[in-house]
């Protein structure tokens, strides 16, 4: 347990020490005067590289011209016309994706939270092995998971007559499988810093096990749960390599609809719906920043 540190005070003390220790005479060399500018310039190039595709998609979706000159950036005569022409196929795919991602986030929490509690608190040998098992779905390349689940469903179907490929539940199993490790990771990260005395206090004050969990433990691990659920949602929402094997023609998630759209001819309505998805991701992130803060999201999020 580390004592809480007043970061601002520590920084001020640090800076004061630096000024006090600074040798008399000319100020130390700070390197080339344009070093910092070069650094910032370089970073803006990275940002342009990283963000330009999304900006271009949003920009091109505003195109107002005819169909055949439709994919254009920058757009001429900006209009929202394509947003009203998003076809039903895409909307259905979007609907399925939202439903699947939401259910996946829920399922990942149901599997992941007990797993994290058990890993951090259980008194069992082979904890490393257990947490490796829970992290394994992230180490297996997604495309391998996809084909493995497809073959598993074939075999299961041959044995029982219940074919899961191309159904919601088949997709759901695949998505929960890859999303659970994120929840396990974020909740574990929070639990490791959890002060067990809080629970003991609640217990000694007469709370029973369940209400201790609900009123003390849950509020503390909540940021981790939210962060994990967000990762799970986003992983499911953007997945191609697993869904491509487990969807059926006519029953596809949004990324798969886009994937096939890109391989064939497409019109700007796809750009319009893609822009909506980008905005949705932005809003989800902002909500998360308000809810738990970006720091929590990142500290617990690395795989």
């Amino acid at each position: 347990m580390t004592a809480p540190v007043d970061k601002a005070a520590a920084r001020r003390a640090n800076e004061a020490a630096i000024i006090a220790l600074r040798p008399k005479g000319p100020p130390p060399k700070r390197g080339l005067p344009w070093g910092r500018f070069f650094h910032i310039f370089y970073c803006s190039l990275s940002y342009i590289f990283l963000l330009s595709p999304m900006i271009v998609v949003i920009g091109a979706s505003l195109h107002g011209g005819e169909y055949y000159t439709a994919i254009k950036f920058p757009p001429d005569e900006p209009s929202f016309q394509w947003y009203w022409k998003i076809p039903g196929d895409q909307l259905r795919a979007l609907g399925l994706s939202f439903l699947l991602a939401g259910a996946t986030a829920l399922g990942a929490c149901v599997l992941g939270i007990p797993a994290a509690l058990g890993i951090v608190r259980g008194k069992i040998p082979g904890k490393t092995f257990i947490s490796t098992v829970f992290r394994a779905p992230l180490q297996i390349p997604a495309i391998v998971t996809g084909i493995a689940f497809l073959q598993m469903f074939y075999l299961f179907g041959d044995a029982t007559g219940l074919y899961l490929q191309g159904t919601f539940w088949g997709l759901y199993m695949g998505h929960v499988f890859v999303a659970t490790p994120y929840v396990v990771g974020t909740v574990t990260a929070i639990l490791q810093r959890f002060d067990m005395r809080l629970e003991e206090a609640a217990f000694s004050l007469g709370a029973n096990r369940w209400s201790t969990f609900r009123r003390v433990t849950l509020p503390v691990i909540k940021p981790g749960v939210y962060a994990g659920a967000l990762y799970a949602f986003m992983v499911s929402f953007g997945d191609v390599p697993i869904s491509i094997f487990l969807t059926a023609p006519g029953y596809v998630t949004y990324p798969i609809e886009l994937f096939y759209g890109l391989e064939n001819d497409f019109d700007p309505s796809i750009l319009a719906s893609a822009s909506l998805v980008i905005f949705f991701c932005l809003i989800a992130l902002l909500a998360m920043q308000k809810l738990v803060g970006l720091d929590t999201l990142l500290r617990s999020g690395s795989r």
Binding site: P28, K29, R30, G31, L32, G35, Y42, C43, S46, Y47, L50, L51, S52, P53, M54, I55, A60, I71, K72, F73, L111, G112, P114, L117, G118, G122, K123, I124, I130, V133, P137, P141, A142, I143, V144, T145, I147, A148, M173, E200, F203, G238, V240, P241, F245, Y254, P255, L258, F259, L262, I270, A274, V277, I278, C281, Q289, L294, L298, S302, R303
Partner: protein, 284 residues
């Protein structure tokens, strides 16, 4: 307070365990049946598919292209990502949150949408080609679709956001005061980076690079879309072998090779982390 925490772990563990073992066992076993094409396979376990993989120059070339494009993407991701991660980690203003948010959004948006944007940017009458042809560098439109450059760019878009976040956490473990100490003693900016920051972050960078390499090796979507049916990496070939040729056993073999390669790299990075941890260089 003697809750049996290990018991509540059990249901999840059993479910995840069964899914892992069942799915992996089935396709691994399948990869040992000789593939006769069109979904038919032989009945006895043999190494035919594996022998084919390691003797056929097409498959070996695919493996080589996968490793090559992933390696290049890893290098470029690190080169592009490190300065950004450093800038954000060392920033003291509220802008750092905004910059971080930009990175996180880029990792959340599905790679298909990003590839979409790339295709528009690099299309024949897109921004890049207008500039290039305007200056007169090229006569015919330059494209990244269907060649290895495109695959590398696509992989970078897949890994860069994640890479920056990874490097950000590495740099955060290095106290700022070390750099200030170097500067007080008169080190120039460049010298400080070279003699203080680089050695301290090298362990984290190595592990991070291995993770990014791994991610690229398994990346399907960007490689499939930007390869345009002409560049095959292992994940693309796996999907193609199943969907177009209906050769499950051969696809199983390809998957097994990919899986083993990736797991070996993972093992390497775990060993590295252990070593570095015992040397107290990495906290991550």
């Amino acid at each position: 307070m003697n809750t049996r925490w290990e018991l509540i772990l059990l249901p999840s563990f059993i479910i995840v365990g069964i899914l892992i073992v069942a799915s992996q066992f089935i396709f691994l076993e399948g990869s040992f049946y000789k593939d006769l094409g069109l979904g038919r396979t032989g009945t006895e376990l043999q190494l035919t598919n594996y022998i084919r993989f390691f003797t056929d120059s097409f498959y070996l070339n695919t493996l080589w292209i996968t490793v090559k494009t992933s390696g290049l993407a890893t290098i470029f991701t690190m080169v592009l990502g490190f300065p950004v991660a450093y800038l954000i980690a060392r920033m003291r203003s509220r802008w750092s949150m905004l910059l971080l948010a930009g990175i996180v959004v880029a990792t959340f948006v599905t790679i298909v949408i990003k590839v979409f944007g790339l295709i528009i940017i690099f299309s024949a009458d897109g921004l890049i080609n207008k500039v290039l042809m305007g200056i007169g560098i090229v006569d015919t439109p330059y494209t990244i679709i269907g060649n290895q450059t495109g695959v590398v760019v696509g992989l970078m878009h897949f890994t860069l956001g994640f890479g920056v976040l990874l490097l950000y956490s590495v740099i955060q473990t290095i106290p700022r005061s070390y750099e200030e100490a170097a500067q007080i003693h008169g080190a120039s900016r460049w010298r400080m980076h070279y003699r203080v920051l680089l050695p301290l972050s090298l362990p984290g960078l190595t592990v991070g690079a291995l993770m990014i390499f791994n991610m690229s090796m398994g990346a399907f979507t960007s490689a499939a879309l930007l390869g345009g049916g002409r560049v095959f990496t292992l994940p693309v070939l796996i999907q193609r072998t199943v969907m177009m040729e209906v050769k499950y056993s051969m696809a199983g073999t390809l998957s097994a090779v990919l899986l083993v390669t990736v797991l070996l790299i993972n093992l390497l990075s775990i060993i590295l982390i252990r070593r570095l941890r015992s040397a107290r260089l990495v906290i991550a």
